[in-house]
Amino acid sequence: MIWGNLFNAFIQTFSQQNLLACFIGVLTGTVVGVLPGIGPVGAMALLLPFSYGMDPGSGLIMFAGIYYGSMYGGSTTSILLNMPGESVSVITCLDGYKMAKKGRAGAALSISAIGSFVAGTLGIVGLMLFAPPLARFALSFAAPEYFAIAVIGIILLSNLTGNSFLKSFLMVIIGMMLSSIGTDPLTGFIRLTFHVPELTRGIDILPISMGAFGLAEVLTTVVEPYSTGDLIKIKAKDLYPTKNEMKRSTMPILRGSLLGFFIGLIPGPSAVISSLVSYKMEKTVSKHPEEFGEGAIEGVAGPESANNSASSGAMIPLLALGLPFNANTAMLLTGLMIHGITPGPTFITEHSDLFWLAVASMYVGNIMLLILNLPLVGIFAKLTNVPAKILMPIVTALMLLGAYSVNSSMFDVILILIFGIAGFALKYFKVSAAPLVIGLVLGSISEEGLRQGLIMSDGSFMGFLTRPISGSIFAVTFIMLIFIIFKNFRSKKIVFDEAV
């Protein structure tokens, strides 16, 4: 059954439109990953208006391509310039750049590309195997279960994003408040529009994402222009790793793939976390721990594999449950919903062709990325030579026109400006904007779940706790909260003791 579906999906993937969408997605993702500033969320937000003319399958293929393509691209500048293009590639700077300085840049880039390809492929296998049964299990979910999952997602996200649980939690709440503007999901009543007619349709995730992730980054470059370092040149004959380097990379790639996939399932910046955890794990198990930080190939292979595999893992809660647990998958969700597709338990059964198309395209996309990244790595790295004073005005113009084209309304452009300033303020005060976007998406899901659950249980919260699935999830959430409170209390006590 799986193989039959996959075979049919591969045939569809090789259509002209889908291949083009895949290519545009992975190329854009790689470019976005290489260039500091606009990340995959901003890139997906920019391309969203252009996907309107595409069919849903091609749109999904393109956005997914941007997502995992950016994981590849970020490592290029980490290795060649000691400048991570994306936050997930920060760890790669530690050993990747050191390898480059020793003349092994090509090997580092190759291992990064090969590791990403293997991990991406294994991650897709995991997605293929786990998503359908999870979706079937989720068919038994009712409103209390969705509320429980939203709550645990919010708690985990607040704990794992940023340095302060309370600050991240506040951002999630703000996002949820914004999601309440417009139409009440249960009654259809128009509320909280503040006498602004355009707010009757609510606040879309698009202007918030473009503003908080796109325009905020552009405003950052106005104040702190990024500078390019000396680009390390690669010779063609040094492009490939030696036998010893391949041998040393094999187990880190496999370990990173497995680790990244399961970390990808949890809410929050799973790709960043998986690369950090993988690095620590490789350093612990390595026979040459003293080489870490000085150019250990394992320090590149493991983290790069982990972050790619995490992007596949993160797709499972999105496609099977309809719950995005990071900003990237929240944008994917928006892209799908704009095309009239709502991911969730019924997505895999009612739109199985789309699900398998996405899976097949991810295989094809990974091959495209491997082909693009190995021989063209020098060209991609040169993109960083495009100065911000040329690039950023163009990106700003693209954002403003892109936002206008969604609803042919200047109001969306005004929203981008407002959230761009807000996003810059968050960066200035060192608060992450990602919880804001997730809160916007989880807000309506959690409100529906809570209100419908209360109606079902006639106003009693015990209705949420006595159901086996929601009760178990709330029990885990309670234990996690105790752990978070204890951890915060302990760290404050240590600071106090040291001060004394």
Binding site: G53, G162, N163, S164, L166, F169, L170, I173, I174, M176, M177, S180, D184, T187, F189, R191, L192, V218, L219, T220, T221, V222, V223, E224, P225, A388, K389, I390, M392, P393, I394, T396, A397, L398, L400, L401, Y404, S405, S408, M410, V413, I414, L417, I421, F424, A425, K427, Y428, F429, K430, V431, S432, E447, L450, R451, L454, I455, D458, G459, S460
Partner: protein, 158 residues
Amino acid sequence: MNQNKKASIFYFSITAVSLIYFLSAIELPFGTFSKPMQGFYPIILSVIAIALSAYNGVTLLLKKAKETDEQEEPGVEFTGRKDVLKFFAYIGVIIFFIVFSGIIGAYTCLFLLVFALSKIQGLQGIWKPLLLAAGTAVCFYLLFGVVLEVVLPTGFLI
């Protein structure tokens, strides 16, 4: 003004906005727990937001000037008055685009936007910014106007 005091003002601003939201939300019917209505969730969320933002604001206000949280997110800093001026000029140009697109025409405003933004970003001379602005306007006309057939605001110019 030290960073902690600035941050506390930021959080108190969130408190103020949340309070406005709360005052609008209480005009909606709250309902009961067995039949929660349109105001139920917004009221609960705004109360939490007011409490959290006020707590963060007060905590920062009481911290000493140089005391910061460990392992903060990477942030952005203004290094001087020039940065502040550049920042507000950038926003001003975008506001100009929003206000005048419908009067002058979107593509003309786009040309002026890119020219002005590139100068703010530090692109030297006149010809480079002009070429950049003209090239961008033409490319975006082809992309939005011809390929995507998006109708942008028109004015007495294009």
